[in-house]
């Protein structure tokens, strides 16, 4: 298990950095917010990212993928974090696409996977029903009805849910909320009768949605994987998403740290750069340390995703470690960035606030610090 990016992955990182710096710098995120673009990202940017092959990274060549491994997603998400770039890479490819790949049958794969990789269609994962992430606590019911199933219940905080072509809905087919057994996955096209999608605008100005499923009838072909046995694939895919979010968080934290460090060196008060003050120097050094530890945890988690022989518990530990450490670090760095910038730090004019808002949302998404701390020790 290597804790460095390979030469190939470094090339990918360079190209992602150049592409996003040119095409999706932080100013784009500001404009998307100011214009209240409901989609939360620029379709043309996504088409060009697909052209670059980003959507093909984690999939085997047989499905039109690059077979580049999940580790290849790391540099991309770090760059997206640094530039605060919005794309549906997490929702449609890492979460939705991976579920179709890992749990779907050949018909479902043929129908959806190439379209997702090609960027012609977009999937979104509908898992959580409450504000706090808890993927086993699913109450939305799916009952056998005729030749298919009837789904009834609500989903909260579906990432990139507005405008998706279909949803992977996690539903309970047996057992109680909190059980990992009895969960099933359904592919539900957006135009299915009884399905209502509404916007859930969050402070990060990305695309978030709520779903209401009112006695939604789907055919048996909608079932993704085995009835009642959706948990294993779901956890595998959630771990991919969590790791990608950790990479995005580390990218944001790195960018905020460098901006703040530069400010400490140039901002003059009391006739001297404020970076000469030891109280600020020590806090800056602490941020540097946390970034270094986060980097190590992230690299281990990325490597774990691509290890076919790894024990699921070991993978869970490494992923939760990465999400916990990167999230905790990003929050602290964002808070320090605001504080050290002083008055200008709380103005909307400074980009720091945009990062702060995305950091808080990404940290909470797919499990916050407390969730991952608990999950880490549960898998000890």
């Amino acid at each position: 298990m290597s804790l460095r990016y390979s030469d190939e992955q470094r090339l990918l990182a360079d190209s992602a950095r150049d592409f996003l710096a040119a095409r999706s710098p932080v100013g784009v995120q500001r404009r998307l917010r100011d214009e209240a673009v409901a989609l939360g990202f620029e379709p043309q940017l996504w088409r060009d990212a697909v052209e670059l092959g980003w959507s093909a990274i984690p999939f085997p060549e047989a499905f039109g993928g690059l077979d580049f491994g999940c580790k290849g997603l790391g540099p991309i998400f770090e760059s997206m974090g640094r530039n605060l770039s919005a794309t549906p890479l997490l929702s449609s490819v890492v979460l939705g696409g991976s579920l179709v790949h890992l749990a779907g049958n050949s018909t479902q794969q043929a129908h959806w996977l190439q379209a997702v990789i090609g960027g012609e269609r977009r999937l979104a994962l509908a898992v959580d029903e409450r504000a706090r992430h808890d993927p086993s606590r699913i109450a939305l019911e799916a009952k056998v009805e005729g030749q298919g199933y009837r789904l009834h219940g609500d989903k909260f905080w579906v990432v990139d849910g507005l405008g998706a072509d279909a949803y992977v809905v996690v539903a309970r087919t047996s057992g109680q909320p909190g059980d990992t057994q009895g969960l099933s996955l359904f592919l539900v096209p957006a135009d299915t009768q009884g399905l209502t999608v509404s916007a859930l605008p969050l402070i990060d100005s990305r695309n978030s949605a709520r779903l209401q499923l009112d006695r939604v009838q789907v055919g048996s072909e909608a079932l993704l994987g085995t009835l009642d046995e959706g948990w294993t694939a779901l956890e595998t895919v959630l771990d991919r998403g969590r790791t990608c979010l950790a990479a995005e968080l580390l990218g944001m934290a790195g960018q905020l740290f460098e901006t703040t460090l530069e400010y400490l060196k140039t901002r003059v008060q009391f006739d001297t750069a404020i970076g000469t003050f030891q109280v600020l120097q020590h806090r800056a050094a602490q941020m540097y340390i946390d970034l270094a530890l986060s980097r190590s945890a992230l690299m281990a988690a990325l490597a774990a995703l691509d290890d076919p022989d790894i024990d699921a518990g070991v993978r869970a530990r490494l992923v939760s470690l990465a999400k916990w450490k990167a999230g905790d670090t990003a929050i602290n760095v964002a808070n320090e960035a605001v504080q050290m910038h002083g008055g200008i730090g709380v103005t909307d004019e400074l980009d720091v606030g945009l990062y702060l808002k995305r950091v808080r949302v990404a940290q909470s998404c797919l499990g916050d610090r407390d969730f991952h701390c608990e999950r880490y020790s549960a898998n000890a």
């Binding site: 804790l3 001297t272 030891q278 120097q281 800056a284 050094a285 020790s377």
Partner: protein, 401 residues
């Protein structure tokens, strides 16, 4: 086969044949062999391994042959180190003379000094200690005051050194002394070496809050040191000290992968002492313990990453600068949780009412305070990171907002 591949092949075969199996495992504190006039071995295999590596001249493999080394090139040295890592060979001996003083002598010593001092070090025959800190020169090392007065063909040394590890067990000391009291503080310091058996040298072990320790205070009362034992230029010792400390960091990074693992498995102890959390307080304790364990895990991964990056030729200066601070602070944080979890079980002292494990937790906890201070306190480490790694500017003298 290329020459270097041949060397790898031969080295591997030699190590396979000569490194006893029991010397290919992790080591506890009592397993360390110190090169000295009278070396002590924990077992016969340790003696064998010591003698074979000594005779192979691989205590100091990269030193020139005329000074007792094997004259290996950088490339060969890297091969030897990687082959030793591969077999998990223990270091055959530990000696400050090799990692700390040796490089300074090679760079700054006179020809005579190199011929006199280096070969015995390379044979593991002399145990060296370091005389840097003084009671009034800790973090501010350059303010040291131990005097070496010029007395013709020798110096007369008066004063004391403190925090000298194994000062009472060492054969020789390298020490920073003040040779000019009128110059600015960095410019009146010299580096000397001296025999610890010289008349007037008195090492005195220091008891810590954790009990017995390896640390000594060493008193010097009119100790005669021949001028031939001045290393480098008179009053030029500060640069040598900086050079020496650089090698300390380099050596530590090399041995980072072998760094002794933490003695305390926090989560295992939590399961033992707070097995089934019931109350909110017990749940909170477990959450605190998990956070500590996770930080420790992240640190261990960082050690691993640093080794990997070093082998790939990446710049690991930044990572190296954080390791000591992170490790020692994390250990202390762990004890904060552990003490609350074990409560009364953690406060025993020389009593049969407590298990050996419990008594060792008490001692280790108290010892953890020393670790965040020695070898550069946490605050000095943060200064180093801020200034050398992050490039934050020095405060101007007299600015006092």
């Amino acid at each position: 086969m290329s020459t270097i591949e041949q060397f790898r092949h031969d080295t591997r075969a030699w190590l396979e044949a000569n490194c006893p199996l029991s010397m290919r495992t992790g080591m506890a504190e009592g397993d360390v062999v110190w090169g000295s006039q009278n070396p002590q071995f924990p077992c016969e295999d340790a003696r064998l391994w010591f003698e074979r590596m000594r005779d192979k001249r691989w205590f100091c493999p990269e030193w020139p042959e005329e000074y007792g080394g094997a004259g290996l090139s950088d490339e060969q040295l890297a091969v030897l180190e990687s082959e030793m890592r591969r077999l998990k060979c223990r270091p055959p001996q530990i000696n400050l003379g090799i990692w700390m003083l040796g490089p300074v002598l090679l760079a700054y010593g006179s020809e005579q000094q190199k011929r006199d001092l280096l070969p015995p070090i390379a044979r593991g025959e002399v145990r060296w200690c370091q005389g840097f800190s003084e009671p009034n020169a800790g973090s501010d090392l350059a303010s040291l005051k131990m005097a070496a007065r010029d007395a013709g063909d020798h110096f007369v040394v008066d004063g004391s050194k403190i925090w000298t590890s194994y000062g009472d067990k060492s054969d020789w000391m390298y020490a920073l002394v003040r040779t000019d009291f009128s110059a600015p503080k960095h410019e009146g310091i010299s580096l000397i070496v001296l025999d610890m058996r010289s008349p007037g040298v008195t090492p005195q072990p220091i008891d810590l809050i954790s009990g017995k320790s390896a640390f000594c205070q060493v008193f010097f009362d009119a100790v005669k040191v021949p001028k031939s034992q001045l290393i480098g230029p008179l009053h030029g010792g500060w640069n040598l000290a900086k050079y020496l400390l650089q090698h300390e960091r380099k050596a530590m990074s090399k041995f980072g992968e072998f760094s002794l693992p933490s003695h305390v498995d926090l989560l295992a102890l939590m399961r033992e002492y707070v097995p089934a959390p019931q109350t909110q307080g017990e749940h909170a304790l477990h959450a605190r313990a998990s956070a500590c364990a996770m930080n420790e895990h992240a640190y261990n991964l960082t050690v691993q990453r640093m080794g990997e990056e070093a082998r790939a030729g990446d710049d690991i200066g930044g990572l190296m600068s954080i390791m000591k601070l992170v490790h020692t602070e994390q250990e202390r944080d762990k004890f904060e949780v552990l003490l609350d979890a074990m409560a009364g079980h953690a406060f025993g002292w020389q009593s049969t009412a407590f298990s050996e494990q419990q008594l060792s937790v008490t001692r280790s906890w108290l010892n953890s305070y020393a670790l965040t201070i020695s070898g550069g306190s946490s605050e000095v480490q943060l200064n180093v990171i801020a200034k050398r790694v992050l490039g934050l500017p020095d405060a101007r003298k007299g600015v006092n907002p």
